[in-house]
Amino acid sequence: MIVLERVSKTYHPDSVGLDDVSLRIEAGELVSIVGQSGAGKTTLAKLLMAEEQPSAGRIEIGGWDITNIRPREIPELRRQIGVIFQDYKLLPKKTVFENVAFALEVAGAKSQHIYDVVPQVLKIVGLEDRAHRFPRQLSGGEQQRVVIARSLVHRPKVLLADEPTGNLDTLNTQDIMDLLVKINAFGTTVVLVTHNREVVNALRRRVITLKDGKVASDVAHGKYTLTV
């Protein structure tokens, strides 16, 4: 469960990222966070992965109050949340296998466990035959699937996807969204931050719309209602 209680994030007096936002996302939900540029979507994502601290309010993930999380506790939090980025953020000098294994290595997993689990996860995302390639040798869609594999490998309870289809074509976008729906079906809470109208409308799941740092709407089976 993810809880935000009256969370605000102010960068400068005249630059507000989030303004008094309260949210509750239940375990196992798939929620889309939508909004135009500057609405506060990325700020929300950064707060959830503790990349930034809120200026006010309280944030809780899975019962863990991360509002004032200490820097040395941040790696532990990130090992419990899977994160997917628009720009992939793969380690360019590591192979597909090593990129996925890295998420387990940093958590101190045993080598045998890594050699058992990583091929399984790569199979789920359909990249078992790309294990020894480097990111530069993959297409955008394949790279995003590696990122999903990396974020899944330690079986996170929450998967945070920040514009996961932003750099992909329609076909790859559909593949990635199918994967995210599948992952959600297995019980993982998925928080999808996006401004892709088609993606949100196709899902027909809960949609939270942000506007000027505030929650403008929160609809259980919503659609992308913003106009450009």
């Binding site: 992965m49 503790a50 990349e51 930034e52 601290q53 820097p71 040395r72 941040i74 790696p75 532990e76 939090l77 990130r78 090992r79 994160v83 980025f85 953020k89 793969l90 380690l91 360019p92 000098k93 890295f102 998420a103 290595e105 940093v106 958590a107 101190g108 045993k110 080598s111 990396r150």
Partner: protein
Amino acid sequence: MITAWRIFAASWKHFARNLWIGLATVFVFTVALLSVNVLIGTNVMLERVVAFFEEKIDVTVTFESGTPEALLTQARFYVQSFPQTASVQLVSPQEALDAFKERNKNNPKILEALSELSTNPLGAQLVIKAKETEDYPFLLAAVRNPQFQPFIRSSSYDDHRTAITSIEDAAKSVRLFGSGLVAVFSLFGLLAAFNAIRVAIYTQREEIAIMRLVGASSAYIRGPFVLEGVWLATLACLFTAAAVWAAIYFGEPRLQQFFSGSDTGISDFYVQNWLTLFFSQFAVMAGLSALVSWIAVGRYIRR
């Protein structure tokens, strides 16, 4: 244990996959170390040149012909008793005459004039070597005491005073400037190495940020970079040692020509001090690399 092994393995893998950055860093390290070693070698050679000239200096005190042998022996023991004295050699009148003839064997006129004389015109000589060049005036003043002064015909110190003072000044300058230059070059070398690591890590700043986002602890991120710095320093020290050895092996015979065939002192110096030189340079380079890597990586580890 498993984490330590992973950090160790990652450092080598990282080095192999960033080979060009690694080799460029090793190159900068090696150039820095070589410049310091060239200066150390030059300093050793200059010290040898100074010592070579210092060895050539002596003061010869010539006594009047017919000076009693007992007085000459007494003068010799007297001079020898000073701690400033390195050696004293008493040359008899006959030995002085033989040496004079040898020196002038290609000058028949002098030899002919000498044979006209019925007695040996040369007196005995005391050849004095001081431990330090600045001790000559003192030793000369000591031997010119009232007991020996009446029997002293001349001394060579006055003729060589300017040369001795010049050598003395040169020796002081060489030692002072040599040490200063080694210190300055060491500092420049360290700065160059420091920046080479900073640049190498700067090129990988995004990877560092990604590692953090994926859940790596600061120590787990820093570890491979710190160890890689130590490997780079090790390689640079080995390359430098090989280059210095090759330079001495091939260069010293050519340098000996400038020393009239005698030893330049460089190989002796390196043979006697290679352990200290290698490990002190390795310790400084490896320690610096590890420290700079630790600090530089920290700059790119965000929350």
